[in-house]
């Protein structure tokens, strides 16, 4: 039972992420230059993204069925690698401005990425738990990384307490499922008896635990506080990375375990409606842009849950595409917010964005593209994301869910367009001078804008990949 060479190839991205993080921590006492650390972290995340390709070349299970390398995990490894790359690239100027230590920050981001990678390819529940904790524990520290800021430490505390609370639920669910089926490997749960109460309870608890992680209402209470208090590059990471990874695990359980496919359908229906309304109505009344974007990310989790409820292949494809479109837009938007916030993140109010188009035309244009993509207007990736979710919902005859989603998109339009109007139609305030964007941040924004527009014009590559029959390696 000695692990084979293929086994290691199939977890290569995680190994690269961990090696990069460990190396950063080793070098930390000896190297003074900030540049070196960020270059190393960039290199590690690029290498990990590439090595996802090696993992995909040898599809199959590893370590006795704990890990599965297939098209699905390949997609999520690419997504996580991209997110981490962009977060690292965009955070160096932020860390310098806030006088934060770079090496540990990048190391924690890489460790969190390794955990997300494990989550995306786990085929066994306890392995998924380890992955979830790897990414969560690093995230708790990252949320409180601005140690002197009271808000940041508060955010870390809330994230830690509610996150571990959710983890306990997830774990108890695993224990119950294990007790009933005698296994924690997802592929061996096919014969599970759906009418069994203990199994139902176990699956419900797993859903609660993961619901916390993806910020689905009514388990979303931590999200606005944590997103607002955390340093903005970390918020960008949270909104794109761990969320995508938790959705990946949720989707894998949902698709692979027939009992979950049956039992979770109404739960997803209900969660989707609740989440969409909480997110959108919450975002309406916010005047703090960072907090508004936090609420909007709750709303987007709701849209994704609609695609879950569709229970079809087009639904799975819609989830994958939407996660990509959403990650690009959210990452870009939070990067703009992080830079415009200025020292100590003081300028986060809607008023601070007045007349941004005159002061910083590039930033205003980029932010508008991201907001329009989140809103789902044509030519942006968000449009096709919403389009495919609608299609999946209608295809599965979920008319009411589609109607409610349409209604929510209209509510969403108000607060996204309000920000664009403030940026373009209002006169700038006198004192609101802002530093020009550093090259690295501009690069992140350019990549996000180009990605958003590219996938908005040519969604077919991703969709046809996600619709290919070998997605889950069958």
């Amino acid at each position: 039972m000695f692990p084979l060479r293929e086994d290691f190839l199939r977890v290569l991205p995680e190994l690269v992420f961990c090696a990069g993080g460990t190396l950063l921590m080793f070098l930390q006492p000896f190297v003074r230059s900030r540049q070196a650390f960020s270059s190393l972290a960039l290199l590690a995340s690029a290498a990990a993204t590439l090595s996802a390709g090696f993992a995909a070349l040898t599809p199959g299970t590893a370590f006795g069925g704990l890990i599965r390398a297939d098209g699905f995990s390949f997609f999520f490894h690419l997504l996580i690698g991209l997110v981490v790359f962009l977060v690292v690239l965009g955070s160096s100027s932020y860390l310098e401005r806030e006088r934060l230590a770079p090496a540990e920050f990048y190391a924690l981001v890489l460790f969190a990425a390794a955990g997300m990678g494990v989550l995306a390819s786990a085929q066994e529940l306890l392995t998924a738990f380890i992955g979830l904790e790897m990414s969560s524990i690093s995230s708790y520290i990252l949320a409180g990384y601005r140690r002197d800021a009271i808000k940041s430490s508060e955010s870390a505390m809330k994230y830690f307490l509610l996150g571990s609370f959710a983890t306990a639920f997830f774990l108890y669910g695993i224990a119950l499922v294990y007790g009933k089926t005698g296994t924690t490997v997802l592929t061996q749960m096919g014969s599970a008896d759906v009418s069994d109460t203990v199994l139902k309870l176990g699956l419900a608890l797993i859903l609660v635990g993961l619901g916390f992680k993806v910020a689905a209402a009514p388990f979303q209470v931590w999200t606005p506080d944590v997103y607002e208090g955390a340093p903005t590059p970390v918020t960008a990471l949270f909104s794109a990375g761990p969320k995508a990874a938790a959705f990946a695990l949720l989707l894998r359980i949902f698709v692979m375990v027939p009992a979950a496919t049956q039992l979770w359908f109404w739960a997803f229906w209900l969660l989707a409606v609740l989440t969409m309304f909480t997110g959108n109505l919450g975002a309406l009344v916010q005047s703090n842009v960072k907090r508004m974007l936090a609420y909007s990310s709750i709303a987007h989790a709701g849209y994704l849950l609609v695609a879950f409820a569709a229970r079809s292949e087009i639904g799975v494809a819609a989830i994958l595409f939407y996660l990509l479109a959403y990650a690009l837009a959210k990452l870009g938007a939070f990067t703009v917010v992080g830079h415009l916030g200025g020292g100590g993140e003081k300028h986060l109010d809607l008023e601070d964005y007045a007349g941004l188009a005159q002061r910083q035309p590039f930033a205003a244009a980029a932010l508008s593209v991201f907001l329009l993509s989140l809103l789902g207007l044509p030519v942006t990736a968000g449009f096709f994301g919403k389009f495919y979710i609608f299609k999946a919902a209608l295809h599965s005859h979920l008319i009411w869910l589609a109607v409610l989603m349409g209604l929510n998109s209209v509510i969403g339009a108000y607060y996204y367009l309000r920000l664009i109007v403030v940026m373009y139609m209002r006169e700038p305030r006198e004192e609101a001078a802002c530093a020009p964007f550093p090259a690295a941040v501009s690069m992140v924004l350019t990549i996000c804008v180009l990605g958003t527009l590219y996938f908005g014009l040519f969604p077919n590559h991703v969709i046809s990949f996600a619709l290919s029959p070998g997605l889950f390696g069958r």
Binding site: E133, I137, S153, F165, Y172, T184, E228, G229
Partner: protein, 100 residues
Amino acid sequence: MVPTNYYLALSAILFGLGVVAFVFKRNIITIFMSIELMLNAVNLAFVAFSQALGKLDGQVFVLFVIVVAAAEAAVGLGIIILIARNRQSLNVERVNLLKF
């Protein structure tokens, strides 16, 4: 021999107590302890199921859970110290800068 259901009932009671304590207690350290109680209730369930199924893997899971709980405790206590330094208080009701 004690039947498995007794262990499971005890585990459910411990888990429930943890949830109740998490919701109603006001001191961060006590809240943190209630999470530990929940995790250990899970461990008990794992061991009981492992015994009932006649399989060893449930007991191995417990070792993993203990390790992860230890890592979580290390980070959690660090965060609690941070809060105590910044605010001079461990009451969650006073930690309220971020509110709707």
